[in-house]
């Protein structure tokens, strides 16, 4: 059986898979597309870094898909400052790292009632090896990439709201991006194997899909200055698990606008994302709204 969707005929199985991916979710932060990490540097011996400040907060309590009364005033507030770097050996081979500094707090329910928990410090280090294949056409460019990653337990699990999970995790990403003078598309399908960590932290594996659709309304050739406006769509599916506060896992679809300004090798990025759909395992505080500011440089 074939299903017709916008004149595209897809086998029903493929349609089901795509629909499932679109409705996926997680309780982990999105590592959405970043210009410094994908678009540049694509030149040999190029390198770059960026700082991203990520703020996530919520006081909405969910049970499954339903919003329920939050009488105990459960909440969470997570601030992460990411230092991200990349080195390009040659066009096809890069090495990247992402290291967060985290300051976070939450109110959870324990046997004695509501308890405030917090954690501060360096989180878990992610190292990736993007392997890309480029295709330059007359008026467009694109690449496909496979990126094996490893997440190392550099973050402590000592705090009441741990900044690390104590496990070595493995990830694999398949991505593709295409760009014309005015339009940009990026698709990233990834999977993280989350191993059992310390102190009862045992989060489930995570499947994610990030999509960026970008418009390039302004560019000045002489100063290499311009603006991108993008729509970011992030879908996550995380298997049921647990941490020190209770159940983890669920599904989430979130979206929001992204603004990127660049000038030569410098880039500024601001993005806002809010959950459009959530279905959590058990009872959890919603993922919440996410606001990110970033500056990056390539050399």
């Amino acid at each position: 059986m074939n299903i017709s969707f916008m004149n595209i005929h897809l086998p029903s199985l493929l349609y089901t898979v795509l629909l499932t991916l679109t409705l996926t979710f997680t309780s982990q932060p999105a590592l959405a597309h970043q210009p410094v990490m994908d678009m540049a540097p694509r030149w040999e011996d190029g390198w770059g870094f960026q700082l991203r400040r990520q703020d996530i907060s919520s006081n909405v309590l969910l049970e499954g898909r339903s919003k329920i009364a939050n009488e105990a005033k459960r909440s969470k507030s997570i601030n992460r400052l990411w230092l991200e770097g990349i080195y390009t050996f040659k066009r096809e081979i890069r090495l990247s790292f992402k290291l967060p500094y985290i300051k976070q707090s939450r109110t959870v329910i324990k046997d004695v009632g509501p308890v405030n928990e917090s954690g501060t410090g360096i989180g878990d280090l992610i190292i990736g090896l993007p392997l890309k294949r480029y295709k330059n056409a007359a008026d467009s460019t694109g690449n496909i990439a496979i990126t094996p990653s490893i997440r190392l337990p550099t973050g402590s699990t000592d705090a009441s709201f741990p900044v690390g999970d104590g496990s070595i995790d493995l990830g694999l990403s398949l991505s593709a991006s295409f760009e014309q003078t005015k339009w940009y598309q990026y698709y990233d399908l990834f999977y993280w194997v989350n191993n059992k960590g310390d102190k009862g932290i045992d989060k489930g594996d995570e499947l994610g899909l990030d999509i960026n659709i970008g418009w390039h309304p302004y560019h000045d050739n002489l100063s290499n200055t311009g603006i991108f406006l993008m729509l970011d769509i992030s879908a996550r599916l995380e298997q049921a698990g647990q941490d020190s506060a209770g159940a983890t896992g669920g599904k989430r679809l979130s979206a929001g606008p992204v603004f990127v300004w660049y000038r030569s090798g410098a880039m500024f990025r601001a993005e806002y994302s809010l959950p459009l759909y959530e279905d959590v395992e058990g009872m959890q505080v919603s993922y919440g709204d996410e606001f990110t500011l970033g500056i990056g440089f390539v050399f």
């Binding site: 694509r42 040999e44 400052l81 008026d139 100063s223 200055t225």
Partner: protein, 203 residues
Amino acid sequence: MIPMKIFIKLVFTSTLFGLLGINAAQAISESNNSNHLTIQVKGIVCSFCAFGVEKNLSKLPFLDKTQFGQNGVLIDINTQEITLALLADKSVAYADIATAITKGGYDPVSYHGVIEGIIQNSDGKWYLVDQGKEQVYHLSQTAELTAISGKWVLLDITLTPAQAEASNAEEVLVSEFRVSHVYELSEPKMQYPQAKFRPSLDL
């Protein structure tokens, strides 16, 4: 942890400095387009990615860095063309240009430029000798060349990527050319008459 307010200030300040720089760069105009080399490049539509190509090209010693924002390189992502402002008295290393673009992540398609010099024949082969840059351009035989042998001319030339890579600082391979002007004796021609290059000995 950097407080959000301070982080926003840092980002805002950096952005403001960048924005202020736009006008200064834009104020530098293209003062002269008679000594430019234009390169058609596949896929150079990504402006942020093009920074690497611009960085590589701007290191080449034969560019006029008073043009195009003080580095002699202009990348037009709308036409997928790179224009280089060339110094009049420096030879053009086409192979180095090709390497700079390729290592920058892109693929050149063709090179287009204007050269000036004397049409000469040596052992049945035709050349344009650019005494200003001390370079010799290899030309394919045409009836028109016989008619203008020994004269000063302007040629519009095209190089393929393979020819650019095979060229060196003294000899350049040309795939196509068109005679755009033949100088009269009274017209000023050589900008560098003291050039010591002697093509008949070097060929």
